[in-house]
Amino acid sequence: MKPPKFEYHAPKSLEEALEALGRYGGDAKVLAGGQSLMPLLNFRLARPTALVDLNRIGSLAYIREHNGQIRFGAMTRQRTIEFSPVVAQRLPLLKEATHWVGHLPIRTRGTIGGSIAHADPSAEYPAVLAALEGEVVARGARGERVIRAGDLFQTYLTTSLAPDEILTEVRLPVMPAGAGYALEEFARRHGDFAIIGIAAVVVREGPRCTMARLATAGAGPVPVRLRAAEQILEREGLGEAAIEAAARRATELVTPDADIHASADYRRHLTGVLTKRALTRAIGVARG
């Protein structure tokens, strides 16, 4: 478990990084926290000619509020997010999700950009990005573009980022004040990737639900927005029957795969269970 030889660049600015990346015509990889990339290198499953290390680019680590969005520099550590007062206030769902990401040492190195660019379908951040309808900013030789969550995730570990593009920023809309939220997850062990995770947000006005958001982790090759289940709540409100119906609908909206930890049937079953639990808890904390 030692990586094959690679060239190593540690640029100090984004421009240098892009330039280095461009030089290899798609054969270089960006190194962020290394929590996913290093194992891939050590297993020799990834064999880039070069690594472009973003860790010295200070300007890529920030949390800013702008235009109703919270904007995260790609290199913002998960641990910074976990303890950010802005995140706690504006994006409590993201804060809750962060607790589920690995363990303390992993979050200390791991970045929000890396987690999203890596696009592990069982990861929490992609589910949050999907639930909150966030977007990411990508910079490449041809300039900058904004990619919406729905257009970003293609399949397992694959995004619509070009090999010579760097994800520079993650943008999440501020959650409406009083919105209820929850992230429910089931894993074999504390800190493991989700077998199934459900991110839920509800905005209520009395018994009515003006907005519901549900997204999955672990229920297929990409995070799945459970729009049809959300619509049940938006139509029928937040009563027990509606929650049950939404949870049932959720199980029909996913086509999970089987692996050695869980069969597809069990994952589908968990999708229903956790949707119900996430909604119940989200509704419990919702104000309005």
Binding site: M1, P3, R189, H190, D192, H261, A262, D265, Y266
Partner: protein, 796 residues
Amino acid sequence: MTEHRAGATAPTALPRLVGARVARREDGRFLTGQGSYVDDHRPARLLYAAFLRSPHAHARVVSIAASAALTLPGVAAVLTGEDVARSAKPVRAASKTPAVKVTSFPPLALGKVRHVGEAVVMVAAESRYVAEDAVERILVEYEPIPVVTDMEQALRPESPLLHDEAGTNLLVSREFGRGDVDEALAGAALVVRERFRFHRHTPVCMENRGCLAEYATGSGTLTLRSSAQCPGLVRDVLSDLLDMPEHRIRVIAADVGGGFGAKASLYPEEIATCVMARRLGRPVKWIGDRREDLLATTHAWDEIVEAELGVDRDGAIVGLRAQVTADVGAYSIYPWTAAIEPVQTISFLPGPYRVPTYRGRTRGVATCKAPLGPYRGVGRPPAVFVIEGLMDRAARQLGMDPTEIRLRNFVRDEEFPYKSPSGIVWDRASFTASLLRACEALDYAAVRAEQSRARAEGRWLGVGVASYVELTGIGSAIPVSPGMPIATGTEAATIRFDPAGKVTAVFGIASHGQGLETTLAQIVADEVGVPIDDVRVIHGDTEVSPYGTGTYASRSLVLAGGAAILAGRAVREKMLVIAGHLLEADPADVVMTDGRWAVRGMLDRSVAVREIARAAYTGARRLPTGLEPGLEATRFYDPYYGTASNATHVAVVEVDRETCEVKPLRYVVVEDCGRMVNPLIVDGQVHGGVAQGLGAALLEEVVYDDQGQLLSGTLMDYVVPSACEVPWMEVHHLETPSPVALGGFRGMGEGGTIGAPAAIANAVADALVPLGIEIAELPVTPDRLFRLIERARARG
């Protein structure tokens, strides 16, 4: 036999150390990163090794082309199976019994590969990076042959054959019995039967296997540092395989980061590394990575047990009939052979119960998987899962409480020594007391009441009991594994005073996390009457220790502790003689007080230990006439049969109705390892053992697909419990001194792992009584439980 108790005759006015919660002396260096593991050693001119491992589960090796690897800068040499065969004999785990078929286990594949991960070619290079690059450049042409991964299919005549020389995949076949079980079962009021499945596991030591071989051309000596449990055993077999006398081979197992039985066997990499080092005249080091560990360290358990238990109307056992089938993987391991797991399981199946009639058949079947080897408990985790599962089934059908049926069937205190139907003798144990104490510690009645309330609320709460007995500290009367080629019934201790009065105690055992440096020092200090800080314990180095094999099978405290008592007594006797001489008193009148040796009744006439030691080395002028100078003794100890160790575990769990997850709520252990040398260490051993047993019951499983590809090849896939998954444990002790082992000690390193799978399985089944679900397969993962529950609900 009070004279056999350590300390009973010890001349000590120092605080007695045996029995005290002495903090582990080795932990300081472990916790501050000052340990001495194989990978800490980097001799000059060192080469690093990597292995090309088979991607196929079963294939002929047609050709190996290594030239592209050899031309890579930094590569020193490449070794193939044929190269090794020219300078080392093949490993054959011989057996004295015809019940075990003897097959070869070549260090590097010869002719064909039999499991994914089998070592095929070895590379030595300037760094591990280069060595791995070189491995990728070696071209091996394989011709795949049909694969068999299912142990029952492997028994069919049309199945692919792993070892032509055996002529069958059935490598082990044996039967035990007592009385006419068929008649007994035919007449039983109730017969419960089940097909149990205990899946494949692997220990996952924190330190992966690794070794470093150095051949000194000048002196013709070979030194192997290995992360191993049995340096003596490895030294002996290397002498044979490499055709070198034993006194020219030194095997060192200094600090070892866990073994759990999996480092008790000889491994291909150890031989290949020695061959490479001898050939190149340069030190060669191989450090296994986690992938190699999961692929090629021995796996464990993996058995199907079909068993039937007959009881009379009152729940008394009338007979037990069982067949064990073990998937022993591709090779029979040295020295234990493929028999160790399947024969242990069938031998221990009757448990702590009076079983008047018994027939147990056992089979070990070769398949295209990593070899099966010993792992904490060997055979007994599955055996206890089976017998305790059957006891609970019988109790449920008779409407008895699970504790009641056990109490009715335990071997009674007045029946010891008791010979079990498979021929094992239990010297003395506390079956009844341990169960009663566990119920008391748990407040059994209160927990049952809570369970009723929970059930009324629709919650699935369960209580699971498991009582077991194991044979520990096995002496020369019985082999640790049946028919195995080596003797393991003895260990020795050398206790030596230096002239300054400090003690060095040297042992052939090899502590790999058990805290033996502390416990053995406690025994030695008590025996010779010095403070523990004055005792240094050396172990795990064949060059300096008296003859011994190593640490395995819950033997070290019993055997090495017994040897320490004997050697300590011999030294003490000599100290009395010298003290008497120095004090001009009869040695019979010399007593030990406050670290000084004094004349009884005249405590002001005394000498310090240091003065006795100095006198011993000063020679004739200060010694009684004719007394040999020096102050040291080596003694061997053979406990002959060995001694029983027993425990009762009780688990309380809740099964989540929706996610089907099992949550352990309470875990009580009442164990009896005889006289405890150090309760702190006993607690620690129980904690670790239970954690591994819990992993076996709920989380861990080695999974292969039907083509023999390992699907659980990383620690994301092979799920071991972390601190978050391990419940708080309530550990209680009974101390029934062994009547047969010196010091009254019994072994207890494995016990936690033996009891936990059964206790948890029984608790889960108990929780699911409302659904009529029995647990016959471990681990009981949420996914398995989900399917069981769905099926039960469909039944209505």
